[in-house]
Symmetry: C2
Subunit: 236 residues, 2 copies
């Protein structure tokens, strides 16, 4: 198996080559692949370059490396799914729908114990409660129930959220550094069913997200999709 040699060998090319050999089964899972020195010789490059290629493959979980033993193809490729959660507008437009948005409620409330737990707040403070609906070509697509920590994001008080939805506003105004996502299924209660224009007790797919920045909770949101039509797919 002869390899084309560019003027300068690129760790990218080596990485791609090796990954291809793994995906094609040229090196089977569990098999030990040649050492860095050996690969470096094949490509006529330095060991450090091969090291980087293999290290990144190890970071992605394709190979496992142990000193002295060498590098082997991973036995069980990650049974982890990486799920992108796009902006609902983009998601709808990507599917060919026309996005529209309806603000149902915007109300400032004081933190009850219940909200404090939901938002993971240390101390009491004002909170903005927003409920809204996202539609695809006029058909309800996602119902959003959101709480915003006004101590942390006071500017939300002055935003009407009539021309921009809370998610896009927050992305613009208040970035976060950490997030927690929960995925679950449930049945539609009467109110949710009405909003989403589905039958009561139809299935719902629910995504809940809480975000933080510098240890302060920014927002907690519950996104509800009609479960008969909505799927999240992750391929890797």
């Amino acid at each position: 198996m002869q390899v084309r040699k560019p003027r300068t060998s690129s760790f990218q090319a080596i990485k791609t080559d090796i990954l291809k050999k793994i995906k094609d089964g040229y090196w089977a899972p569990g098999e030990t692949i040649p050492g860095e020195e050996s690969i470096a010789a094949d490509y006529g490059c330095s060991r450090v370059t091969v090291n980087r290629a293999l290290r990144e493959l190890a970071d992605s979980g394709y190979v496992e490396r142990r000193r002295k033993s060498g590098t082997r193809v991973s036995m069980n490729m990650e049974r982890a799914a990486r799920i992108e959660i796009p902006l609902v507008r983009k998601e709808i437009e990507a599917k060919g729908g026309t996005y529209s948005y309806l603000l149902l409620e915007k109300e400032e409330v004081q933190t009850s114990d219940w909200v404090r737990v939901k938002l993971n707040l240390q101390k009491a403070g004002p909170v903005l409660h927003i409920r809204c609906l996202h539609l695809s070509s006029g058909i309800p697509y996602q119902y959003e129930d959101r709480w915003i920590n006004l101590d942390r994001v006071p500017a939300a008080r002055d935003e009407t959220f009539k021309d921009i939805n809370p998610n896009e506003w927050l992305v613009k105004e208040e970035p976060f550094s950490e997030a927690e996502h929960t995925f679950s299924a449930a049945l539609a209660d009467k109110e949710t069913a009405n909003l989403l224009e589905i039958a009561e007790n139809d299935p719902l797919f629910i995504v809940e997200r809480r975000t933080w920045q510098a240890n302060d909770t920014i927002t907690a949101v519950k996104l509800t999709f009609p479960g008969t039509t909505y799927k999240m797919i992750s391929r890797g």
Copy 2:
């Protein structure tokens, strides 16, 4: 416990320091952080070492880098969730339950068009259909409906699957290099409700997975959880 301090600066330490400053808000999202040379001077190390630290932070999505402009803290930390899908036995045991397993059906069938699409098979061939139930302390936890490509995994024909569940057997016998996951919600039909010991039309949380190795489909499986109790959580 005494840890010896390495006498040279480590890219790990730099990476951790910088990440902490980001998480703590010392550098706000959108803010440009000092250049590599500058950080290298601070730590008394070479620029290449800083480069690696920053590069890995960029790979993880914490910072964005552009030549000439510099490195800035990401505005919107990845709205991507990484979901680990553990072996059901381990998941149950981690929650304090006692795992048990019930094989419901094991049947070899010829590929119908329907199965061919499901398994993404190029050509017709024998397929093993397995249905089984995973229980936590005697309570149904997950219903599994699986198809295995016998052309690719002929050994499955001779395995009874009485003492080991299909997932664990496959992990051991037939590694894969690629997987696709789908998450959705649905209502329990009569049969599924009976198996999971829930009411008909109760909500279900459904994970579907298809796996490949070297362009051959290995298996397609549908994992069904009672939606009233099951949640998938991802924190990052």
